[in-house]
Amino acid sequence: MPDPAKKTIELRILRYQPGVDAAPSFGTFEVAGAENMSVLEALQTIKDTLDGSLSFRWSCRMAVCGSCGMMINGEPKLACSTFLRDLPPGPVTVEPLNNFPIERDLVISVGGFVKKIESIYPYIMPKEPKTVEQGPYRQTPAQLAAYESFSDCINCMLCYAACPQFGENPDFIGPGAMALLQRYNGDSRDAGRQKRLDTIHGENGVWSCTAVGICSEVCPKSVDPANAVNQNKTNSAFDFFLRFLRKE
């Protein structure tokens, strides 16, 4: 039951409607009884009851589908797992993820990110091909642990919104895609390491990263993408000098 003495929380939301607005500007909404809501629930309440034209992406509501990333009080967060009760009192500011083009309100362009994921051969290239009849590969818990955290990435792009180097260079492969690259390069079943490494030797590859490290701090799934990028900086650097010794 909604509490009769319910508190009202003010949300300042960055709005943008292409073709109508020349530039984004803030709109303000008051949501009653919101103290136990997540930011997502507050946005849904606004959309359902106050302004149906407010646009944002969401689906799972349980911090696993990666749809609902946005800047909340200036920090990249998942709206569904950020609760108003945990934010400092006063108006809450909600903006689309930093460093991405805004398509509408809180909806940003995701196509570039998807292309990056596709560019790094995100699938197993088996070391020793096996048929299904031959059964599963063996992989010890230690071998699993070597790449497990990188496989937990939900593609929410919060790390991109935090990374200033991605802000400077939108072509930078970036932390999330590098986490995926390392997920496969670190897998004991895989033999595609060199091929993947060869995609990131350029300035738009790992060399745009200056080890700011904030990508790992904002990651909601403890993926540690900074590790994926910087570990591959080391790999790429060694490859720079050792490539001549490599036999193809």
């Binding site: 943008y16 292409p18 073709g19 530039a23 984004p24 930093n98 460093n99 083009p101 805004i102 398509e103 509408r104 940003i108 362009s109 818990p141 230690a142 642990a145 070597a146 955290s149 200033p164 802000g167 400077e168 670190g186 200056t210 080890a211 700011v212 490290g213 904030i214 790992s216 701090e217 540690d224 900074a226 590790n227 910087n230 570990q231 900086k233 080391t234």
Partner: protein, 132 residues
């Protein structure tokens, strides 16, 4: 009509001066202290190559309060560099798996920092010992 016109917000030019990136900028600047100390040594090498008088002037400089203050500042900055350097270290290497689970990065940082302290200490002790 049917065209999306994404809006690109201009990125602020001074992000590096603002939280949370300020700490990163300070960390990077600590690298200047390393080079600064290299410059002090370079000056010594140059003085040495110019003969005994020049070297004596350099030694007098080292003994001056200005130099002591400068070195105190350099030491502080380099210590900050040591601290942050080993904070990034675990990011630049593959996960260390002990048993079933990766070693915590904090542990790697701590061990490496202690090791570095030991290196510097050993250098000092050996120098003092050899010189004696």
């Amino acid at each position: 009509m049917n065209e999306s016109r994404p809006y690109r917000r201009p990125a602020p030019k001074d992000w590096w001066a603002k939280a949370p990136y300020r700490a990163y900028t300070v960390r990077e600047m600590s690298g200047l202290a390393v080079a600064g100390y290299g410059a002090v040594l370079f000056a010594g090498l140059y003085s040495l190559s110019q003969g005994p008088e020049s070297w004596a002037a350099y030694v007098r400089f080292l003994q001056s309060p200005v130099s002591l203050l400068l070195h105190a500042a350099l030491l502080a900055a380099v210590l900050y560099h040591v601290k942050t350097w080993f904070q990034i270290l675990p990011k630049t290497m593959p996960k260390l798996i002990l048993g079933r689970a990766p070693v915590a990065q904090r542990t790697i940082t701590r061990v490496a920092t202690i090791f570095a302290g030991a290196c510097s200490l050993a250098l000092v002790l050996i120098t003092l010992g050899v010189a004696r």
